[in-house]
């Protein structure tokens, strides 16, 4: 019935209120019982049905719950409570857009309800609808101007809405008010620095500086205050004062790059300008004297010096690092190798060091013998140096010398494994890494690398067994625990392994695990809308919001999403070719899932005394059937569209979008993808073949309206003119790959093969990598080339990568 709660008899009203209290206390079973008590007398009471539905939804009876809530709303469509309850459930199911709609309905009937306003404000922020959040929070502040969470929340929402001025106004109006609860010392400090940041964002640096002085007595984040001082002074062009401020900061942390760069800027020095080089090096030198223990200052001269200056600086750093035995020396200077002169100079330098030590046991300018380990670290560096340049044989020789000189040092084995990986001997890499980790089985870092190398040779079961060695013993289900701990690198690598093995179903399962992790990451921010505001850690809160807005830009997400989309496209293509993929059943006889790795899952649960066997998510659909049987193109589209919205600056996004839209015959979107790619990189190797394929599709697709083809063809002609699919394929392996893929898509395997087999030739040396040649191999097999052609390619590839076992 459409009677509201207040129209029920007193007894039932009291029961209803207690039901709501039970919800707040998360006592869902009891709440359910109480709801049923009311419904006994009033079986059609709309609002009670809604509340009962809410309890059911929280007791794993979601479908029933939603049904009841909908019934409740049908009976009483104006009930604020019923809409509120539905909104709550949608929100806990992370259906934020739907939740917002419910809350908006709830507000229609009860526009001044504080709870509803608070909750929907958080939802608006979650969905980045800041203007609406501002509206709600203004109401809340008007209702209670002395509750800090309300006006602080409003300030942050103004901030995210770009109105720093309004945010400042709100804070100024309320910070000295009779706040309940009053802000404590830490919170006042945080608020002051937040307000100062707003003043800075609002553009008035002098005002910010004045404010900074004002607030100092109440600041506890002293480093934060000093950072602001230095930055603001620099922005206000008060270089001398800023320099002192940055020096003050360097006293606290001489490894901080922002402090060093800031200090340099104060000296009017552009670190990237060659003319300033001597002055820059002099300043760095002075700083080094002040802060002799700073690693960063030790490395910095190499970044900003050239010619003889560079050699001097490099020699100083090298001797320090070689004597100390710092494994990351090469990794740290690797960035310099982009400058060919510097790379060569470093090689020459370390070779010279090695020769000096070998011949005389000391450096030419020292009076004492160096420890024997110095030669080890010289060889260790040089191995990485030659590996960088692709001279894997020489690199191996050097690292093996290093190993012989000190067989118990583990680091050289890791480099050897990496060299073998680069050289195409993945099994050798795996075996070397296995040896390394066995020297220190308690070191998870070594085991982690080993697991990765196992996955690279598709040893998925062994990799899993090994991973489990480090999973928490208390975890009720160890494989689920791996997923719960959000190890996306592992999920992606497993996905790649299954994909290589042709098990598209399992590949998709793992890619979706990784995608799910990022969905969780984005969702994580929700609680902080209230928590951070309550804690008054507002700078941190805004930082969290800003990062969360970009959470899907993470490379691990992009990898998973793109790989999954490509899998879906492959499924669709195979279906269309009459060769549909069938999920692969795999026999698994031992399941080391639970404690001690011995008990079967079912037994473990029964032992725990629970009647039902819980099925964990990881156990469901082991073959990935659900993914295989989905609407493949629709799934690919979802992923491609999401990438277009979050990763538009990545060329690969548009290459993928092209493939999806083309198969779905959305030719305007295909053109859009081509143009987007062109805007990023007009020389991208995939462009010629994309243009050709779109043209061909327009020519052959009779179901697409002819009048629509006209503007598409015109735009293509205007933007690209006459295009040959083999453009650039004469000298660029990337162009060969792009052209070959497209030729295969258009059914021309022979032409693809003819191009592909040329890639081991000398003219393709620029940008040719092992992985690209492996891709060539894969495409060649796909092209239907005969055995002898493939074998000839393999032999030719081996002349380029003599140590490779993968061809």
């Amino acid at each position: 019935m459409s009677m509201t709660v207040t129209e029920l008899p007193h007894k039932e009203q009291a029961l209803f209120r207690s039901a709501l209290k039970l919800y707040e206390a998360s006592q869902y079973k009891k709440g359910l019982k109480v709801s049923d008590q009311i419904l006994k007398k009033f079986p059609d009471h709309g609002e009670t049905l809604s509340v009962k539905g809410m309890f059911l939804a929280h007791l794993e009876r979601k479908e029933e719950g939603y049904e009841l809530m909908e019934r409740g709303l049908k009976i009483n469509p104006q009930s604020s409570i019923s809409w509120h309850v539905y909104g709550l459930v949608c929100r806990s199911d992370k259906k934020y857009a739907q939740a917002i709609k419910c809350y908006e309905e709830a507000l229609k009937a009860d526009s001044e309800n504080m709870h509803i306003l608070r909750e929907v404000a958080s939802l608006y922020v979650q969905m980045r609808q800041y203007s609406k959040a501002v509206e709600c929070r203004e109401k809340l502040v008007a209702m209670n101007p002395f509750f800090p969470s309300f006006w602080l929340g409003l300030a942050t929402t103004h901030h995210m809405n770009g109105r720093y001025d309004l945010a400042i106004k709100v804070i100024s109006a309320h910070e000295s008010g009779n706040n309940q609860p009053p802000l404590d010392k830490y919170q006042i400090s945080e608020l002051s620095l937040y307000k100062n940041w707003l003043i800075e964002l609002n553009g008035d640096y002098q005002q910010a500086l004045d404010h900074l002085k004002e607030i100092r007595p109440q600041i506890v984040d002293i480093t934060g205050w000093k950072e602001k001082k230095a930055r603001l002074l620099l922005k206000a062009d008060r270089k001398e004062a800023a320099a002192t401020a940055f020096q003050d900061l360097l006293e606290r942390n001489s490894e901080n790059d922002d402090y060093i760069t800031g200090y340099m800027e104060c000296n009017g020095l552009d670190m990237k300008c060659d003319e300033d080089q001597d002055a820059v090096l002099e300043v760095i030198g002075t700083l080094q004297q002040q802060f002799p223990s700073s690693n960063r200052l030790r490395f910095l001269p190499l970044m900003y010096s050239t010619g003889d200056n560079f050699v001097v600086a490099a020699e100083s750093l090298a001797k320090y690092a070689l004597r100390k035995g710092i494994p990351s020396l090469f990794s740290s200077v690797r960035v310099l190798y982009a400058d060919k002169v510097k790379g060569a100079a470093l090689g020459t330098l370390i070779e010279s060091c090695a020769t000096q030590i070998r011949d005389t046991k000391r450096f030419s300018d020292s009076t004492d013998d160096e420890p024997a380990s110095v030669l080890l670290w010289c060889n260790y560096y040089l191995a990485q140096h030659y590996d960088y340049y692709g001279d894997h044989e020489r690199a191996l020789t050097l690292i093996e010398e290093a190993i012989r000189s000190s067989p118990k040092t583990i680091e050289p084995y890791m480099i050897k494994a990496r060299i073998l990986k680069h050289a195409g001997d993945f099994r050798g890499a795996r075996d070397t890494m296995d040896y390394a980790r066995q020297q220190d089985v308690g070191d998870r870092y070594l085991t982690t690398k080993f697991i990765k190398y196992m996955l690279r040779v598709n040893e998925v079961d062994e990799a899993e067994k090994t991973y489990l060695l480090f999973v928490n013993e208390d975890a009720p289900h160890k494989i689920q625990e791996i997923v719960n701990m959000q190890a996306t690198w592992y999920m992606n690598e497993r996905g790649h392994a299954f994909r290589r093995m042709g098990d598209i179903g399992r590949a998709l399962k793992h890619y979706h695990q990784a995608i799910g992790v990022f969905d969780t990451y984005q969702d994580d921010q929700y609680d902080f809308h209230q928590y951070s505001v309550r804690k008054v850690t507002l700078r941190s809160y805004i930082d969290i919001l800003q990062w969360e807005t970009t959470v899907y830009e993470n490379p691990a997400y992009q990898t998973a999403a793109r790989a999954a989309a490509e899998c879906y496209l492959e499924l669709a293509d195979r279906k269309a070719a009459g060769n549909a993929f069938v999920p692969i059943e795999v026999e698994k006889d031992d399941k080391p899932l639970t404690r001690n790795g011995s008990a079967q899952q079912g037994q473990h649960n029964l032992a725990a005394g629970v009647g039902e066997t819980k099925v964990y998510d990881v156990e469901k659909d082991p073959n990935g059937t659900k993914f295989v049987e989905s609407d493949n193109l629709a799934e690919a589209l979802k992923l491609a569209e999401h990438l277009e919205s979050v990763a538009a600056s990545n060329p690969d996004t548009h290459v993928l979008a092209f493939e999806v839209h083309l198969r779905m015959q959305k030719y305007f979107l295909v053109l859009k993808a081509i143009n987007a790619l062109k805007a990023i990189d007009a020389t991208h190797p995939a462009l010629p073949s994309m243009v050709v394929r779109l043209s061909q599709a327009l020519d052959t697709d009779e179901s697409f309206a002819a009048p629509l083809k006209v503007p598409l063809r015109a735009q293509l002609a205007k933007a690209f003119g006459a295009v040959d699919i083999t453009t650039g394929a004469d000298e660029s392996i990337d162009s060969v790959l792009a052209a070959a893929k497209s030729m295969l898509a258009m059914g021309d395997g022979d032409q693809a093969a003819a191009l592909l087999v040329q890639t081991p030739e000398a003219k393709y040396v620029e940008g040719r990598t092992l992985l690209k040649l492996l891709e060539v191999k894969r495409l060649l097999a796909k092209s239907g080339a005969d055995e002898s052609t493939q074998a000839a390619f393999g032999a030719a590839a081996k002349t380029v990568f003599p140590l490779a076992t993968c061809f």
């Binding site: 000093k226 942390n253 901080n256 922002d258 970044m303 990794s331 969780t520 930082d543």
Partner: protein, 165 residues
């Protein structure tokens, strides 16, 4: 080239990755965000090209409101490939100073596996922690932990900044 700075939200995924690579005690991302949202000044990262190669995740122990606040190290780790640079020591120093200055902590405490000789040496010899206790079966795999503690009151630099600028 490595830089050391206060941890930000964008570092959380990298801290988690570093932790998963190195240590058996792992946490969900939200736990890292919770630290950054509650004690933003107590976590630091060592990064190179925006990749987290080392981190310290710090917090305050506010379990018992009657005792002075103690700082606590939830987690500390540096990738093996970046050892011998003193990163752990530098990260810890930053975190400890912040605990003293920002939150007025008198002590900082942490747990370390009794078998972890390298870490124990860092805390005992380099950073001057003392063993307070041995906690039996502290870790998930049953290993014992040393509960270590250090007085950090002298790390509070009570000098007042000059406001003459």
């Amino acid at each position: 080239m490595i830089t050391i700075r206060q941890a930000e939200a964008r570092d959380a995924v990298g801290m988690q990755a570093c932790n998963l690579t190195n240590l058996p005690e792992n946490y969900q991302l939200k736990y890292y965000l919770y630290h950054l949202a509650t004690w933003p000044e107590l976590s630091f990262v060592a990064t190179t090209n925006d990749r987290v190669v080392g981190y310290v995740l710090g917090k305050m122990n506010d379990d018992d409101p009657t005792t002075p606040l103690d700082g606590h190290i939830t987690s500390l780790s540096v990738l093996r490939s970046y050892r011998r640079l003193g990163l752990a020591e530098r990260l810890m120093t930053q975190a400890q100073r912040s605990m003293a200055e920002v939150f007025g902590a008198h002590c900082v405490s942490l747990h370390v596996r009794v078998s972890n000789v390298a870490a124990f040496s860092l805390y005992k010899n380099t950073l001057k922690f003392d063993i307070k206790d041995t906690e039996k079966k502290y870790y998930g795999d049953g290993e014992d932990a040393y509960a270590m503690k250090k007085d950090i009151r002298e790390m509070y630099l009570s000098e007042m900044d000059s406001l003459d600028f």
